[in-house]
Amino acid sequence: MVANDTSSVAIAAMKDGATSAFDKKQKRGCSAIGLSITLPVISYSGKVILEDFKIELKPGTITCLLGPSGVGKTSILKSIAGILPLAAGSDIRASDGEAIMGRIAYMDQKDLLLPWSSALDNLLIAARLRGEKVDRHRAKALLAAVGLAGKASELPSTLSGGMRQRVSLARTLMDDAPIVLVDEPFSALDAITRHRLQALLAQLCAGRTTLMITHDPMEALRLGHQVYVLAGDPVKLTPIDDLGDQIPRDPTLSSLKEKYNQILDLLGMQKDLG
């Protein structure tokens, strides 16, 4: 419970002051789109690891995809992002009928900050790579939104792991993309920092269609409007139903206990726990 208090304090702190202007802008500019994704084959270094993958992302919600490592979660995300080439028969369709290319933001497991650039410049890199005018005000507002207003001119090497991941989150949101793909963003962080950043992600991704990969059942239950488990032999996708729309949830609630056990069961972890 103590941890939960910390997160609500963090959210409260971020809702006031410099962030409000940013919040308004975000809600105005972003019209949520849904995605239906069909990937007949996912391969990793030439070997087929997953077949017939189908998932629907509801507009403006967070979908969590859970699974053990090596099941092909990252490859799925990279295929959607256009980093990996799509196999024949693949279909990624947006609900508004337009192409998804250029409407995606991708956040990697690693923070991938440019070590020679300040936190602020790291937020501007996407615009620079496209040759667009940089929007320093928006970048500063976003840094403030992730609680790093005073660190704008710091180099990544002087920031802690949690701070770096927050800069990375801010950079992901900098493009104001309606679709956000997130790959285990907090797996390398300590439990308390992770808990705070989950709340932050839920708040900042509100209104965007988000697909988040994780191997942490607690994280999935906390953040996912929809939760899917990708596991088994052969691997299949199983939805976790009736979770309710309100996020972030408190995963320690007794009502979620059953869901937690269901996830562990699907992941085949029950046996290990003895």
Binding site: A81, I83, M101, Y106, L114, I125, G131
Partner: protein
């Protein structure tokens, strides 16, 4: 302070050994002059040494400028266009296989007695380490960052060459700078060799010329004075380069210290 003390001990130690050898073997001055004799010669002829040192320094700096520029451009060309590599790489390797001493007289024949042939020589030996190390750096940009850039650029409306240019400008080149810096360090260390070898091939001024001249006249003390001047120049050049590069690449967290 500790650094200064260490330097003093090293220098006086070396001078002491030199002195000891002269004293023990009592070799004549024209074979091995004592440190004091060399110092006296230096203070007598500092004007002529200085004049020739300026020539050599000019050759070194121009050689560095040309060698580094050419190396950087070649590495970029090879990295952008794979085909260039197959054509340029054998030439690059061959340019290193040919002993520079062998082509020094040729360069004099082609480029005259003046400074040009020495600059060409220095450029030749600087070019290779700079090209290879920068190319290495450019090829080693982690795929994670390339993927990130490709997602970010996917909504870009500009033409492919402009996208490529910005990828190099903002991601690939900065990531390759530490590798380029290593190449430049090597270049700074070998540039004086290039200039002096060039002067030995035929010249009318420079420290290499002065050394040959002094050697021919049994003025071994002048030879030593010139040699020591060249050494001090080379060491200063190296450490100055190292210092500037370190300052410029401060962001590098795992920076090695050479000094």
């Amino acid at each position: 302070m500790a650094k200064f003390l260490r330097l003093t001990i090293t220098v006086s130690g070396l001078l002491g050994i030199w002195w000891l050898v002269v004293w023990a073997t009592s070799l004549p001055k024209f074979i091995l002059p004592s440190p004091l004799q060399v110092f006296i010669k230096f203070s007598e002829r500092y004007d002529i040494i200085f004049e020739n040192a300026v020539t050599t320094a000019t050759e070194i700096l121009l050689g560095l400028a040309f060698g580094i520029s050419l190396g950087v451009l070649s590495a970029l060309a090879i990295s952008i266009h794979r085909g260039v590599k197959q054509w340029v790489m054998p030439v690059l390797v061959a340019s290193q296989a040919i002993p520079v001493f062998a082509i020094a007289p040729l360069l004099v024949l082609w480029f005259d007695y003046g400074i040009t042939s020495k600059v060409v020589m220095a450029t030749l030996i600087i070019y290779f380490p700079v090209t290879v190390s920068f190319l290495d750096g450019l090829n080693r940009t982690s795929s994670d960052w390339r993927d990130m850039a490709s997602v970010m650029q996917s909504r870009s409306k500009s033409a492919a060459p402009m996208r490529l240019f910005r990828l190099y400008r903002y991601i690939k080149i900065p990531f390759a700078l530490p590798a380029l810096a290593s190449g430049i360090r090597v270049a700074a260390a070998v540039a004086p060799i290039g200039a002096v070898v060039g002067e030995w091939g035929g010249s009318s001024s420079g420290l290499g010329y002065l050394m040959l001249h002094a050697n021919g006249r049994m003025q071994t003390d002048l030879l030593f004075a010139s040699l020591l001047t060249l050494t001090v120049m080379a060491i200063s050049l190296f450490y100055l380069t190292d210092y500037i590069l370190k300052l410029a690449l401060k962001w590098q967290p795992d920076q090695e210290t050479l000094t």
